[in-house]
């Protein structure tokens, strides 16, 4: 049962937090010992994790760049976490300086951090909201305002949908968002894959079960199904490095080791 919104969420600094662990993988220092302890354990089991996170971050950059090149100037980044570097508004504005971004995250510390970082940016906003309570998220004034103009919006679900369990039905949540989007909007999605490194998947999920954000890795097929109602751009849903690489050699010999898949789809 979700708490009524007038009962405050706690800020539990004694438990590792996905956003801060992610920051640590990426070489950032926006984290506490409890996060680093968790990240070190994960990396001991799976040393490539920092590379995977960099691949994911690189995908985000390439995808936002593509959207900006195609004229999108409004972005909704759900599960934005702590953007250690290369925040969406920075990437987008390199091409479209007028770009507006609404960030959303459920972690109060990540939200507070973004609020401090974005304090002087009138065209960016942060809301504390949860993808799993999608109606609440879409009903926030910052979000309705972003959608109200009827212009295409790029929705980013980068490395976040795997924190939604099957019971919570991520497909349905994404479909609800899709139905709220104007035509020409885009979905940018990356997701932990259970197929790239099946040998690692179970241990990794076990580790995240100890955090407030357990992880559900999914198959290529399940992840592709999340794009229902969107038209995928080339090359479809692929391993992270395979998605529109800057240079062909950047893909590497074992893109499946990056263990995440990604894709971008547009709403007709």
């Amino acid at each position: 049962m979700r708490r009524p919104s007038w009962v405050p969420e706690g800020t539990d600094l004694d438990k590792p937090n996905a956003a801060r662990v992610y920051d640590y993988y990426l070489g950032g220092s926006h984290n506490f010992e409890v996060d680093r302890e968790m990240a070190r354990k994960a990396m001991a089991l799976w040393p490539e994790l920092p590379q995977i996170m960099r691949s994911n971050r690189a995908f985000l950059r390439r995808a936002v760049t593509l959207l900006a090149e195609r004229g999108i100037t409004r972005f909704l980044d759900i599960g934005s976490g702590i953007p250690t570097f290369g925040a969406v508004h920075e990437i987008a504005r390199a091409i479209r300086p007028e770009s507006r971004v609404v960030y959303a995250d459920r972690d109060p510390v990540a939200v507070a951090h973004s609020r401090l970082m974005l304090a002087d940016d009138p065209w960016s906003a942060i809301v504390q909201a949860d993808l799993r309570d999608v109606d609440d998220l879409l009903g926030r004034p910052e979000v309705t305002e972003l959608l109200a103009a009827g212009e295409p919006v790029g929705v980013l679900l980068v490395a976040v949908a795997h924190f939604v369990s099957d019971d919570e039905d991520p497909r349905k949540l994404i479909a609800t968002i899709r139905d709220a989007l104007p035509a020409g909007s885009a979905l940018v999605l990356s997701h932990a894959s259970s197929e790239g490194r099946p040998d690692q998947a179970e241990d990794h999920q076990k580790l995240y079960r100890m955090t407030p954000t357990p992880l559900t890795m999914r198959t290529h097929e399940q992840i592709t199904a999340m794009f229902a109602g969107f038209e995928l751009v080339e090359p479809g849903v692929v391993y992270l490095p395979q998605w529109r690489p800057d240079q062909p050699e950047a893909v590497g010999e074992h893109p499946e080791r990056m263990s995440g898949v990604a894709g971008v789809g547009f709403r007709p």
Binding site: W6, E9, S29, P50, Q51, A58, V109, A110, V111, A112
Partner: protein, 711 residues
């Protein structure tokens, strides 16, 4: 950006440098940005290598720029140092240059780390403050809810200490804020508390239940009583340990008082304030629901003498005042004795003696009634002499029903009236039967059979050895339009006298045999034997054998499943004509049993000559065991002797009137075969018998076993 000329080796360095930065973290950086970073840092390093004088800070700046672009991985530093060291330099500045680069990188990383730590701490702090603010706001909302709720709310710990009460609860109890602190929940007990409320409370605070609801009275500070609808909930901590109790109290005093008044109105006579007819019957019927073994009760049916004259001559007002005065006197005289006085209507009153100790006590109550009404009643200017007649009935609860008892007391009252006013008369079964007969039975009975006013109930007989339902006794009932349901003892004598017993007896046999055959068809061997009473006159009828033969044919009942019960008076001597009939019946294949053995002549010699296979010991033998005036061990010796004697004659023995499991157990021990009585079940509708057959395939525990037998 540097404009220094680039030599051949510098070109190679630039290429290697670009390759270094484009791997790992470099993939996350936009290629354009990366290109510019490579050019800028390569140029800085080139100048540091070439320019005179040597400017180590240029190398340091290159290192810092890498960190600024988030090249924070120490592996990047290692590879960069390696590359710089491999680079040929004109003089001996190489180590210093590399050192400066590394120090620049490290210093920038240190700054960056501290900055980021600072910012995440600030974020955590902000988030915590935000959460605290939200918590305070929510606490304020809860406090407002608590304080301004219209319902009384109190919070206590699990030791029963009251910690906080809201304004509504203070008003409910009529106390100030400080009066409740330090008090304990257990102090709030009230003599009218619903049974179970404190048990529920104990269960709650010990964590066995999470909530309960009751209507509960409390004393206010001013001594008044307030009735509340109370809900208490248990609050647990995260580990599930009980922590607090929260009580919510809604004032229902007005509703409760209204209910009480309505209930009082429904159960009390408005004129005299005495319990009314409905209340009296409710109490009486309650006596019959779960009676103690051997429980007795008494009734005094009181009717004023000459009340009609007062009413007619002095008017209804005076009559009403007289009734009120009489009621007050009866109440004052009898209530202290623990008896219930009720007004049944008109000038009829009744006294109910629950747990009566015997006839003497009931008679004493009747005398008290007469004495209370002996003196004249002063109403206005009139000095009215009232007298009354009293019908007294005193019985064992198990021998009658509420309806029959009141009817009998009423008829006894009429005998008292007839015998002259101002006296009491004691119930007499023979007189009662005669009175019943005189009032309505004999006249109506012939038509009653045609009108279908008779029906049959069945009382179970259980085998004591294995608890099996062995037989059922068919008991005829008459649903009399005026007198209600009459039992056989109330009309069979009349039926014998009038000769109606013949068609009635035939009808009973037809019905009961049909019913028994149906049970056998449905349940096979599990169906009980059928016992039917045979009246003396029936046994003397030559037509009985032929009639029964026809009935057995028609119904298809196996004669072996039928037992006819005769009384000792059926056969009075060896030459009796009834003997021939009895032998004829046995020849049909049915068995015979002597009913009510021990109450009549009990000629053992004839018992040997009769073609009987069973004997039923009269209920009074078992009943007397509970009579405080009679020696119990003697009673058991008599029963034991009867059982041995019957067994010596090869008869199956049934004990009647068995009301307790203890008696059933003892009877089993002394070898009694079957038993019948309230412990095993009263006479019931055929459907109930069918239910028992179906639900008790293994029989029921008779005694020494688990549960108590159903009543």
């Amino acid at each position: 950006m540097s404009t220094a000329p680039v030599s051949g080796s510098a070109e190679r360095f630039h290429e290697d440098w670009a390759l270094l930065l484009s791997s790992d973290h470099g993939i996350a950086v936009h290629p354009g940005l990366l290109g510019r970073l490579v050019a800028r840092t390569a140029a800085l390093l080139h100048r540091a290598q070439q320019e005179e004088p040597f400017e180590p800070h240029l190398a340091a700046q290159a290192g810092a720029e890498l960190v600024d672009a988030h090249f924070t991985d120490p592996a990047v530093l290692a590879r960069a140092v390696e590359l710089l060291q491999a680079q040929p330099v004109g003089d001996d500045r190489g180590p210093a240059l590399t050192g400066a680069f590394a120090a620049g990188w490290a210093a920038a990383l240190r700054e960056r780390t501290l900055r980021e730590q600072e910012s995440i701490r600030a974020a955590a702090d902000l988030a915590r403050k935000e959460a605290e603010r939200a918590l305070r706001a929510s606490e304020a909302r809860f406090r407002a809810l608590f304080e301004s709720a219209a319902i009384g709310i109190g919070i206590g710990d699990t030791d029963g200490n009251i910690l906080a009460v809201n304004k509504a609860l203070q008003e409910l109890f009529g106390v100030g804020p400080e009066d409740m602190t330090g008090r304990r929940v257990g102090d709030l007990v009230h003599p009218e508390d619903t049974p179970g409320v404190w048990e529920a409370y104990e269960e709650l605070i010990s964590g066995k239940r999470d909530y309960f609801q009751f209507d509960k009275p409390y004393y206010r500070q001013d001594g008044e009583v307030v009735w509340t609808h109370l809900t208490v909930s248990l609050i647990r901590d995260d580990d599930g340990t009980p922590q607090y109790q929260v009580a919510m109290l809604e004032d229902i005093t007005d509703r409760y008082r209204l209910q009480e008044r309505l209930r009082h109105q429904a159960t009390h006579d408005p004129l005299t304030g005495l319990p009314n007819r409905a209340a009296f019957f409710e109490r009486l019927e309650k006596l019959f629901e779960e009676p103690e073994p051997g429980a007795r009760f008494g009734l005094c049916y009181v009717d004023l003498d000459g009340f009609k004259v007062v009413n007619d001559s002095l008017g209804h007002d005076t009559g009403d005042q007289l009734l009120s005065a009489v009621a007050a006197r009866l109440k004052a005289a009898l209530t202290p004795l623990g008896h219930l006085v009720a007004r049944l209507g008109g000038d009829e009153f009744v006294v109910l003696l629950e747990n009566c100790r015997g006839e003497q006590e009931a008679v004493a109550a009747a005398k008290t009634v007469l004495k209370a009404l002996a003196g004249p009643v002063l109403i206005g200017d009139h000095k009215l002499a009232v007298g009354a007649s009293v019908g007294v009935l005193e019985r064992r609860v198990s021998t009658t029903t509420p309806g029959a008892a009141v009817r009998a007391a009423d008829l006894t009252l009429y005998r008292a009236k007839e015998a002259g006013r101002g006296r009491w008369t004691l119930f007499d079964p023979k007189e009662n039967a005669r009175a019943v007969s005189r009032y309505a039975v004999s006249v109506r009975m012939p038509a009653a059979l045609d009108r279908g006013e008779f029906f049959i109930d069945y009382q179970p007989l259980y085998a004591l050895a294995d608890g099996r339902l062995a037989a059922v006794e068919a008991l005829v009932r008459w649903r009399h339009p005026q007198l209600g349901v009459l039992g056989p003892d109330e009309f069979v004598t009349t039926a014998e006298e009038t000769g109606l017993i013949m068609p009635l007896g035939r009808w009973v046999l037809e019905q009961a045999c049909g019913q028994a055959a149906d049970w056998i068809k449905r349940f096979g061997d599990a169906a009980p034997q059928l016992n039917v009473n045979l009246a003396v006159r029936q046994a003397r009828s030559a037509a009985l054998v032929a009639d029964l033969g026809r009935i057995l044919d028609t119904t298809g009942l196996d004669p072996a499943r039928l037992q006819l019960e005769i009384t000792e008076s059926t056969v009075v001597g060896p030459e009796d004509e009834a003997l021939r009939t009895l032998h004829g019946l046995v020849d049909l294949g049915v068995s015979l049993a002597v009913d009510d053995f021990g109450t009549g002549w009990s000629n053992l010699a004839y018992l040997r000559d009769l073609p009987v296979s069973g004997l039923k010991i009269a209920g009074s033998f078992v009943g007397d065991l509970h009579d405080p005036g009679k020696d119990e061990s003697t009673g058991w010796r008599i029963i034991s002797g009867l059982v041995s004697m019957a067994h010596a004659l090869g008869l199956t023995v049934t004990a009647e009137g068995v009301e307790t499991r203890k008696d059933a157990d003892r009877l089993r021990t002394i070898g009694c075969d079957w038993a019948q009585g309230w412990h095993f079940g009263r006479p019931v509708r055929p459907s109930e018998i069918a239910r028992r057959i179906a639900e008790e395939p293994e029989g029921r525990p008779v005694g020494g076993g688990t549960g108590q037998g159903a009543r």
